[in-house]
Symmetry: C2
Subunit: 260 residues, 2 copies
DNA sequence: CGTCTAATTGAAGCATCTCAACATGCGTGG
DNA sequence: CCACGCATGTTGAGATGCTTCAATTAGACG
């Protein structure tokens, strides 16, 4: 798609104003966590939005912003993060195609964290008023989105447990299990392999470990024959072993049907 | 509403069947995070509930439960926690009078964590159907509860940052700042002092530190003249100093008016 | 008073960090 | 197309924050 190239042009390109793939990915992800009638799916398909392209390491929204639209990740990979005074960073969640990582902005004005891409990405923006109107007309859709934010909260809780209680080896394994499970759930994993555009430094920011220790721990995971990890792609060689290592129980993801 | 009786004496005590203080505390807490019209407050006051008393270290709900009512903490102090296979525990949030820590059960069947008291407590249970009906009739109330769960998610994110990035001294300071700020916001702190029914071992479970290290770190905080902590009561001697130590910025609590 | 839990202290060990160097891969300009 | 430059990955070694184990003290309560 896209007969264009530059930043400003994007907004002029009519055919993109309603990206079908963005809507479909959103629906696909919603279906992994709850039910959605055919007519409600059509409601969602009819929702107008605005496509935006971002390159690697760009913020979708930044801490302090007061967005007037939510973002649906159409393509790419993103993360939430917070920066401390001295520059340290903590990544608090990952997001893949189909995710809508700032639904919270519908009810909380000011962003308390940032949302940034980890590779070139496409985002579909849907105006707050559009969403509010949709929820008013279709309360079941609103309920499903509420459930979605509650599941996100569950994931945050699990991350607190992960960084609070598990040692480096398990902690990394757990993160890998989660990404793989979620990618599988929405159909973004090809067998045992999925895209994984994280540097070791970023893995350090998500686990609260130094880059050096991430490196050594990954070597241990590789050495134990659990994973292969290179060039933006993760392959799980021993799923059973990895889940045991990470004490991973996917219940906290509240998926409708658990993926093996 | 409830002219009935059930198993225990508690349920025979008429005046308690609708605890005014439970409803009032709920409203008071809601008002710290959003607006609520007089008529909506009355709607909430009219909501029927069931009072339950618990002693220290009892579960309000446990992981795996499928509650059919939400819980409002009327009196006491509680925490959310998760237990790992080998018995380690991570506390992921604290709850005080006025909190409704399991709103999530309205949209997520199965509890993915437990909710337990840290001292003798009183809980007001409101049936799910009652809440769903209320949200249907009064969507603004539903929106406020949604906002509440989103703020909780924000707190979880901050906890990830806290255990992921901060060293023991700051981490403990941050936890103390949060509890004090929230207690003040809902009127449960008397000047610089508030109730704080946590043992050092429990503080260890919340910060991911050993009891021994909690003890030594608390001594450091005391030695630096920041706090006094004894017998279930916390006094902040140097608020400025404590917030600096904990890198505490209350923005993530999204309170309507920030307390000094 | 005796009992039990919580708080405190000391000392040794380890997981992880920091510093610092070096290797590898990749995109870009020459 | 090669060479350079920069980001990422890798390795070694010393420093340290925190844990574990083990004991002792202090408080709360019947």
């Amino acid at each position: 798609m896209s007969s264009d190239d530059k930043t400003k042009l994007i907004h002029l390109v009519r055919p993109e104003v309603q990206s079908p793939s963005g809507h479909e990915r959103l629906i696909r992800t919603l279906l992994t966590i709850g039910e959605l009638s055919e007519s409600d799916q059509d409601e969602l398909r009819a929702v107008p939005g605005r496509i935006r392209r971002l390159s690697t390491y760009e913020d979708i929204v930044s801490e302090g912003d007061r967005p007037n639209a939510i973002s649906v990740l159409v393509d790419g990979f993103a993360c939430r993060y917070k920066i401390l005074h001295d520059g340290r960073r903590q990544i608090v969640s990952f997001h893949m195609a189909g995710d809508a990582p700032d639904i919270q902005s519908l009810y909380i004005d000011r962003m308390d964290h940032s949302l940034g891409t980890l590779e070139d990405s496409t985002v579909l923006h849907i105006a707050h008023e559009t969403m509010h109107d949709l929820f008013r007309r279709k309360p079941e859709i609103g309920a499903l989105f509420w459930r979605w934010t509650l599941i996100e909260a569950s994931v945050f809780r699990e991350w607190v447990v992960n960084v609070g209680q598990r040692e480096a080896y398990s902690r990394l394994a757990h993160v890998l299990c989660e990404v793989m499970t979620r990618m599988k759930a929405v159909g973004l994993a090809d067998g045992k392999t999925c895209q994984f555009p994280l540097t070791q430094s970023e893995l350090g920011d998500t686990t609260g470990m130094s880059t050096v220790h991430v490196n050594r721990t990954l070597q241990a995971l590789r050495g134990d024959g659990l994973i292969r990890l290179k060039a933006g792609s993760l392959t799980v060689l021993d799923w059973e072993g990895l889940t045991v290592a990470g004490e991973f129980d996917p219940a906290y993801l509240h998926l409708r049907e658990l993926v093996a």
